[in-house]
Symmetry: C2
Amino acid sequence: MSFQPSIIEIQLPDWIDAFIIRHPVYISSIEDRMSFVIEASQLNVSKGTGGPFAAAIFESESGKLVSLGVNLVTSAGLSILHAEVVAFALAQKKVACYDLGGQNLPAHELVASTEPCAMCLGATVWSGVRRVITGACDDDARKIGFDEGPKIKEWKIELEKRGISVICDVRREEAAKVLLNYSLLGGKIYNSREAG
Amino acid sequence: MSFQPSIIEIQLPDWIDAFIIRHPVYISSIEDRMSFVIEASQLNVSKGTGGPFAAAIFESESGKLVSLGVNLVTSAGLSILHAEVVAFALAQKKVACYDLGGQNLPAHELVASTEPCAMCLGATVWSGVRRVITGACDDDARKIGFDEGPKIKEWKIELEKRGISVICDVRREEAAKVLLNYSLLGGKIYNSREAG
């Protein structure tokens, strides 16, 4: 008998693939890339498959979609499965490399419906993306009760030091509205250690 | 045809389960818990299955082992698969909850062969553990070339503010030796964006 499983399996919601196929594979403007991601964050709520967050990886120059992740914390029962983490994993599986900034690869970027939390900020650095584009900001997430974790204040400077450029507040109001709606509908705010 | 996989599968090395089964399921002192984890970090190097890092989740009071993770970044091709992340995922699958601090669960702790990087620090908060015990420190990892990421300086205070106690430098020299040996043997230092 084994002590722990030899495979960790993460199942993505069925609707994601159908959603992607309804959209063009190349999206040229960063505003349209963000709209695509915000729509996915809204669908993740209405389909009941997780928190109000989505994130995608694009090839920066061509605008080619590489992967789309959504928050799966409550549905998969794993606290690491923020949308960004799911998007990084899917993209790295696709390019068959743990480094999206690796040699012979086009520059990749993260488009996230909300600013990365402390964990996803670190994950962003390890992912190899060259650019980060965010919609709603920390404050919008904190406003509905999500703890963003022990995140460094100068996070944009820290990313830029590592060669990762940052563009914030792209369609922020639209993205923040998804968070607010989630909260108003009584969506679970799943910070850890609920036992206090 | 699907755009992206509907399942992300993470395969753990075969040797882990056999390694665990050779050890007692309950380990009473934190020093012995750390020795167990350091031995796993060393094995991950000698078996060629990833970076020189391991992490385990224990029930704090009883010392019952819940899960053991090792770094799988290069072997699985996913940058998120630091030892801590693997250990959290395995433990949460086992207790069937994304929150190891959830109601009706005993207090859980993370025992990590090296201080958590920026990503794993955030992941620690979301995991629900109540205590963190570390071996080698940031400096030991940086010394052989690993970037620990944009990590908040006051990370221990930030964890303690959230009800997570921290004990550092447990068997630090022994843990740091594994890092140094990895480097001396020419082990891959897999920071991202190797293309510069």
